[in-house]
């Protein structure tokens, strides 16, 4: 299996195999309806989570709403 190094929310992670963004979020246990994702400084539309393939070197930000002023 080919392995990839990606950065998710500032942390480096090694992943193996072909993964879509949806797969990755599911593996993390994240409720996809409540988050937004930026990949290499570009917004990933929610409708494409199932088709966007994670690539070696990707930098991902997974965010949600929290309390704030």
């Amino acid at each position: 299996m080919q392995s990839m190094q990606v950065t998710v929310n500032g942390e480096s992670r090694v992943l193996t195999g072909a993964l879509t963004l949806e797969d990755l979020l599911r593996d993390f246990g994240v409720d996809q309806r409540k988050v937004a994702v930026e990949r290499n400084l570009e917004i990933v539309p929610k409708s494409t989570f199932g088709t966007v393939m994670i690539e070696d070197g990707d930098r991902l930000e997974v965010v949600h709403f929290i309390g704030g002023g």
Binding site: N9, F28, V30, K34, A36, H64, G67, G68, G69
Partner: protein
Amino acid sequence: MKSIEEGDFFEIAGRRFRSRLLVGTGKYKDFDETARAIEASGAEIVTVAVRRVNLSDPVQPMLTDFVDPKKYTYLPNTAGCYTADDAVRTLRLAREAGGWKLVKLEVLGDQKTLYPDVVETLKASEALIKDGFDVMVYTSDDPIIANALEEIGCCAIMPLAAPIGSGLGIQNPVNIRLIVEQSNVPVLVDAGVGTASDASIAMELGCDGVLMNTAIAAAKDPVAMARAMRLAVEAGRLAYMAGRMPRKLYADPSSPVGGLI
């Protein structure tokens, strides 16, 4: 004639709101207290922050489970952003997460005072408006900058009363009044309110609304303070609409002077 209360609303980016008190959702003890304070405040718009999901514990309770985004208008902010680029990135993510384009822009310039960096704020406003956002903008109490932000197309101007979280109240009422008089979009005091009278003063100066977080969340009893703020904003608004009496230097008796024994 309709009473002031019945017919009074304010409009932001084509949407009407009855409550002129906007509240933040940060700094509460827990989500239950957040929900109860917001309910007591009567606010229809609540500010929220955008932050990384904690991937080691992604199923912890979330704000959206306690403060229903269908009931309240979520206003995503850019708290903690120090450059226009970071603020724009944050709000693009917020738009994708929530699906709404009404946002609160704040670009900070200094960690000690949390004063806005107006140069970056102007840049970010331009970029966001070009990208289709409705921008409510946090800024200094400088009328010239406030006017520039309105010219760019911001849908609400939100000058600070005092530094964020300071609770010092309105430090420069003259500037707030100048901004109110010159603006053709809603003006809201954002940040620095400490207690109910501060909120009333903002409204008596003619502001369209007040946005606050710490004044409620850091009170000993946040739910009671939320109610106090709701009443203070209403009282200040009514006083402004009613038109206060002129100030005089000397006394003017309230009882008739004729017919004295």
